[in-house]
């Protein structure tokens, strides 16, 4: 699993590749904390090459989301693999942020 994070003023772009599981979800937590501590108000998640996410990984995203909207932040999944899209839809995360399948 690898995570690429770019923060350009108010927009943070995060690209996650591979499988996000319980063993590597702390890497995601660290990257999300970086976004939270920056000036970014929009997080664009590119999950096209992310093949699946464990509940620990989803937990990290939700915890971040709660804090991020607290500072008027917004999250958008700009690209998503089919398996992650199905998982997010099943967990109703599409009620929280826009999820684009790509």
């Amino acid at each position: 699993m690898s995570i690429e994070l770019n923060i350009d003023k108010s927009v943070a772009t995060m690209k996650i590749e591979g499988i996000l599981n319980s063993e590597n979800s702390y890497v995601l937590q660290e990257k999300l904390t970086e976004v939270l501590n920056s000036d970014a108000t929009l997080l664009e998640l590119d999950l096209a090459e992310c093949r699946n996410i464990s509940s620990t990984g989803i937990g990290k995203i939700l915890l971040f989301f709660k804090d991020f909207i607290g500072k008027n932040g917004e999250v958008e999944v700009i690209r998503c693999s089919k398996s992650v899209y199905e998982l997010f839809s099943m967990l109703k995360l599409n009620q929280l942020f826009t999820i684009n399948l790509g």
Binding site: I19, N24, E30, I58, S83, L87, M90, K92
Partner: protein
Amino acid sequence: MLVVDDSASIVSSLCKVLDLSGYHVEPACSGIDALRKLHQTHYDIVICDIEMPELTGLDFLQKISRDFQDEVSVILMTGFLDQEYFINAIRLGAADFIRKPIDTKQLLSSIEHILGKRKIKDEYHEFQQYLQSADFSFSIMPVNFSKSNLFNALSSFLRHNFKIDQQVLNELLLCMDEMVYNAYIHGTLQLDQQERRLDYATLQAVISHKLSDPVTAARRIRLRIVINRNEDCVMIEVDDDGDGFDHHAVMQKVLSEQDLSLVEHGRGITLLCHLAHKVEFENSGRRVRITKHLSNGGTSKPASI
């Protein structure tokens, strides 16, 4: 076999040559296209150009090495051989190099050599296909849990022992990850919600402290993987020495939940129900068992309980 090059004419002519030589071969127009195909279907050998837009041969090799370890052999095609590039490619696990323009004889000889080396592994896989069932049991000591990368180890174990569709394998690994991690965090360490939300370094310190207690350190996580060829399914069972939990209540909540819940309880079970075909609990929630069919790829139906 997969041939990857951004030049359609090279891909087409190589596919023709390999097809005429009796190999089943498919084309890919880029490294990204090839990775997508590799995550859907198993290929023994990938013949790949070094210079490609978006994803170079080395980047491609790195991703193959990360996702498939040594299950896929990569032959790199190149017009030049820079020493540093060559060393990097070897380190990343390139199986062979072929000079451009392609000498067909050299390519076929390279393929035969690689296939020869894979023969023993293939015979073992063939033997596995004839087995009615296989039953593996593991006992995991919590003190060693965070020192080992269980996910990668089990991924490698399943890849080496059984030919399983890539998507099914990923889903099985995620189920296993959910089950074993829950047995560790909840059953063994009994971490509360606040502790689970700590940053990585602080959490590791809390875990070390918990494991200094001999009672906690003596607990075990037992993992059982049963592959049943007759019923074309895999059963994964995990049990721990913790206090268990009210699985009836959690299951009821998971099954009746209509709206999004940000509450942490039950998300892992929801995920298991999504990925597996059957989820069962025993022993007051200390044992969880999932069953997943092998042949129908990804899961779209909710599991039966």
